[in-house]
Amino acid sequence: MNKIISDIRETARQLLADGKVDVVIGYEKGSLPLKATPCFVHSAQEVDSLIWDETCENNLAAFVAKTPGKKAIVAKGCDSRALVVLLQENQLVRDDLYIIGVSCHGVIDQRKIGAEVGEILEASITDGKISVKGMEGDKEYLFAEVKDATCQTCRYPNPVIEDLHLGELIQVSQDVAAFADVAAMENKSESERQEYFKEQMSKCIRCYACRNACPLCYCQECFVDCNSPRWLTGGVDRAENLLFQAGRVLHLAGRCVDCGACSRACLQGVDIRALNRKMTKDVYEMYNHESGISEEGKPALNVYSANDPEEQFLVKE
């Protein structure tokens, strides 16, 4: 057991024993290999279930507003950015929140492993090496090979707000946001992009796992559940799936922290992130705004400037 895990457990034990918080939100070992599951620790006796490793892929900020009482949360970089946005939007009370910051090297993309070895039966992680036993064969991976796409371009592995930091800080080399993936897609022709998203959307079964995993999808009534007006029919239709995804992405424009929780939650492997990244890029380039990196300021679409660019969308006369 590494030092960070024992520190997390010790911190949680202290906080609960002192009565500073009612619950600690963290990760525990899941029932499936390579999959940690969110865990809610209410008493000092239970803290030994807490873990921290490369399988902790959920964004725990999604659970904070739904959990009553004073809470502590184990937060990696993207979780903390989501917490900042939630604080900006008055969804959380800072005084009820104790943030245990941990630096994150990235999480494992299970889909990549699953595609090669079939269903994962057993797995173990030692010293950055992941040995997997799958239905169709065994394989050993280096962590860098199976790092999630989101984590590969991550610029905020260290929490942006925290009350306590455990472990060492991670140095990042990138100074500016890189959007090579979005640019590659933009350079394709209109019909190629249309085909790509048609293919992606025909995979979607509208289970709404992406919405449920998203820390910033907290609407009391989501537009997909709304009966009057009924934005979506009950059926699953490719065009309607795109309406759902585009509607969701537009709701998240200027707020999405690019944690990738939606893509990892998607069991159909829909490239949801392609849409989110496009909005992140536009907001970054047009309004010079990155969501959730400082507590001051507001989400990009809540503010305006008199000389915002408009040439690219106004009708040509």
Binding site: W231, A239, V315
Partner: protein, 155 residues
């Protein structure tokens, strides 16, 4: 909604365009065009909204889903909003909507945004003319968002 007029020799294809007009400027501009008897193509179906800031991105998507061939959104010129900042806030939203829709492969000319004041009746007619021509050139809604079986909706 949804039936498609087939282009024949003597009957030109007329697109159906959902036009979201702000109450204080563009709707009044459209009214002025009417009062001034300025001719423009009968392609738009006007939907009056209190402010361009009231436009929900879903309005545009839903119009396309229900079979509109194009969408026109028009509000007061920036700086002239009846509610001071409604169109400034809308402007950021519109830029992102347009960009996203183009990104997913919707034809550029399907969804249009413009600013038309209450005094610009002639310009309103010009805008509608231009939008109608471009949407007309694209032909009927090709279904990036159109739901073939819209049967389960309330309409």
């Amino acid at each position: 909604m949804g039936e498609i007029q087939v282009e024949t020799e003597n009957k030109k294809y007329d697109p159906k365009i959902a036009a979201f007009l702000c109450n204080w400027c563009s709707y009044a501009g459209a009214d002025l065009a009417g009062v001034g008897r300025i001719q423009y193509p009968p392609t738009i179906r006007t939907i009056r909204v209190p402010c361009s800031g009231r436009i929900n991105p879903l309005y545009i998507l839903k119009a396309m889903a229900n079979g509109a061939d194009g969408v026109l959104v028009s509000g007061c010129h920036p700086g002239d909003c009846h509610y001071i900042s409604g169109n400034y806030v809308a402007r950021r939203k519109f830029a992102l909507i347009k960009s996203l829709l183009t990104y997913v492969g919707l034809e550029e000319d399907r969804v249009n945004f413009s600013w038309v004041s209450a005094a610009e009746g002639g310009r309103f007619a010009e805008v509608v003319k231009g939008v109608s021509e471009r949407v007309g050139a694209l032909g009927p809604n090709k279904g990036v968002f159109k739901v073939d079986d819209g049967g389960a909706t309330d309409e």
